[in-house]
Amino acid sequence: MAKFVGGVATSHVPSIGAAIDHNKTQEAYWKPLFDGIEPLRTWAAEAQPDVVIVVYNDHASRFGLDLTPTFAVGAGSSFLPHDEGYGPRPVPPCVGEPDLAWHIVESLVINEEFDITIVNEMTVDHGLTVPLSLAFGQPDQWPCRVIPLCVNVIQYPQPTANRCYKLGKAIRRAIESYPTDIKVAIFGTGGLSHQLQGERAGLINTPYDMKWLNGIVETPEQLAQTTHLELLTEAGSEGLEVIMWMIMRGAMAKDVREVHRFYHVPASNTAYGLLVLEDVE
């Protein structure tokens, strides 16, 4: 049977990827952040997931405005990094896990009545590759297979935090019913507070970020009731993407153990947040 080994919540700021790709991680600006995420790498190396489900959003890369899936599962066998205007990031291609991806899709659509978009060919942008770089560094090949779960958080109406939480719970049930002996982890990415656009660009709301870091660990049911208006106001128009953390949290047990927490401002225009969590059995 598949075994669930843990969940990670992390921001996916593109400049973090650029800092890794251009060997700037030890520069004064970046060193505190990369020192702070080191326990994530230790945890990932020990947990050794065979498959990581990465919940992320596409930033006008694979999906344009011609088609906007709310929840899309990558069921293909490989996913290349997208060229976001600077050339593709120099990271390995992601190797997919189609059998588990299709099992999850079937379980979500038939048993759980989630209407999932199935994607067989997709490139993946910094939203997915930066979390992998944070967890695994710069290997020649990623040490795990990857199932991308792409969430629309750009085009209003985004799914609610509560819908994301319920999706996470449904994904966990799918994992639990998968007969193959593999270890599975889930990453929820994006956030924390940031606003890239408008006169309010540069917004950071540390007290609100603390509410999310605490709430994800201790009171996710309560956090799932957060409205879009609250998120847009307090986390910022782009910080709303933190709803993707709810999918990760939904996939975990009611009680979780906080293996590691880290928070740092700024990563470019964004508050960086990290949680590494394991189920309390």
Partner: protein, 133 residues
């Protein structure tokens, strides 16, 4: 689509990318998205005005593109993840356009320093009396 006022219109300096906003800027966004392709970037570089004529944008939207009016591009229906493709085309960072969109004459160095100092504060930036776009 209904033109009602939404509760999020009261958040200052924030342009929520809802259906109404998206429709207003659809052609503008499709132009920005076209810059993903190197041959399109080359065509736009060689003859910007002619290239823009391939998109059903308004005269005002085209002018805002040509003049790099980063804030106006949002007001005309743009979204940062799309207009940022134009910024990448220009070799600019998100902090350059962040400074430009602040509408306060802020320089990129001042914007960077604001972020290092903890970012733009939320206090006083939650709600305004008037609505926009």
């Amino acid at each position: 689509m209904l033109m009602e006022t939404r509760d999020y219109h009261h958040i200052p300096g924030t342009y929520v990318f809802d259906g109404k906003h998206m429709q207003q800027g659809y052609a503008l966004s499709m132009f920005c998205k076209s810059l993903d392709d190197a041959s399109n970037r080359e065509a736009f570089r060689n003859d910007p005005e002619n290239y823009l004529n391939g998109f059903e944008m308004t005269v005002r939207q085209k002018k805002a593109v040509l003049d790099r009016e980063w804030l106006e591009l949002l007001r005309l229906g743009g979204n940062i993840y799309y207009t940022f493709k134009l910024a990448i085309f220009d070799g600019l960072t998100m902090q350059h356009v962040g400074a430009a969109m602040s509408g306060s004459g802020m320089t990129v160095d001042q914007f960077r320093q604001m972020m290092i100092d903890g970012g733009r504060p939320i206090d006083g930036n939650r709600r305004e009396g008037k609505t926009h776009g």
